[in-house]
Amino acid sequence: MIIWENINLSFGDKTIFRDFDFRLESGEKVLIKNKSGSGKTTLLKTAIGLTPLNSGSIIIGGTLLEPHSITDIRSKIFYLDQDVTLPELTVEELLIELMHYKSNRDINLNRDELLKHLTTFKLDKNILSTNIKELSGGERQRIGLLIGLLLNRPIWLLDEPTSALDDELKKIVSDILLELPITCAVISHDSCWNNFKVKTWEVING
């Protein structure tokens, strides 16, 4: 569960949030569907401490987002940004590197599980030896989602996760996420997410 409480945020003269409240209930699957420029991406980034607030608080699973809790909070949230900006390694090197990251040391990279996910996402296993920078947008998105499945974190915040996928894959991805026992917020313009609960907010002008 994530609670944004009374948050204020502006960049220069541009106010993004003014006394803004938003909730993501535990186990809820939400589709955030606003016009662009309403701060959707920014809202997700505030929850993982990438965009600091001017004021207000964010509480995640009962823990207040603060400098000393940030590592713990980040380890509970799987965040996927629009461009899936991953280190330029081969997919396999990347996965091994990720499992060495401090928060992921308890996770064992299970080869069978990995191959199963590859099949689910219609990826050939040769992709493991391909460098991230040589992947297409759609392949990168699927690798991003696959990382989410491997990390198995309780909260997923996804920013346009299916924009580069074809209709069949879009459906596969949204079906998988609907089944997972996670709390999830998705920003997307794709109709495959229509089973999610739609939430919007008014855009601040000026």
């Binding site: 990438l50 590592t71 949230i77 965040y79 900006t85 280190p87 928060s103 990390l151």
Partner: protein, 262 residues
Amino acid sequence: MADISIISLLLMLTLTVPIFIINRFLKLGINRSLGISIIRMSLQLTFVGVYLQYIFLWNNPYINILYLLIMITIASSHSISSSNLKLKKLFIPITLSIAIPQLTVLLIFNLLIAGKEYLFDAKFIIPIGGMLLGNCLNGNIIALNSFYTGIKDDEKRYNYSLTLGASHNQAIIPYMRKSMTLAIKPNIASMATMGLVAIPGMMTGQILAGALPLTAIKYQGAIIIAILTAKYFSILLSILLSKGAAFNRYKTLNIDIFRKSY
């Protein structure tokens, strides 16, 4: 070594006259800055020559150390101002990262090469100290620039590694590898061709001053190792000590450490 007459020096300066003429002809627009630089160089060298004359005459360990500390302070502010980073926030970490390796290596050098009775002798501490300082300074500028602009330009990827579970050190290490390699590479290259392409400056000076080439190369070898060591640790420390001030408490980069807003 025979002293050089002022007349000969001025005659050397006439070598630059054709440069000024050609610059003007080609409209390079650098004559003003070239002229100012030559005048500055002459004044600064005169000034240094005069006060070094006294420092060598007194040869007082305290004055020598004080002189070195002043050089370190100037070097660290210069190192920050040349790297587009803000002086105030990074001054102390950068000064320490220059002073610690430079003084340590300098004392070890003096102990091993000059002997302990010359530990704080002006003849060793000032020229060798200056040489180490210049190299630490140059290494720091390259490393800090590359490290912080590297993270700045790659901010999304850096941030993303944090959200994927990397500790702060794990997230910065790729940028550290790049910047340290970049800063130390010139030394590796210059060592590989040392003596083949050109006789190094220090050796030239020693030979002109009457030393035997075999003595000169011993000093040369020792100083090159001293430079490499001092520079390496200075680069490492400059990154490690500055990161406290350069990142916020959420481990993302403080954009306000940069002088210009990009």
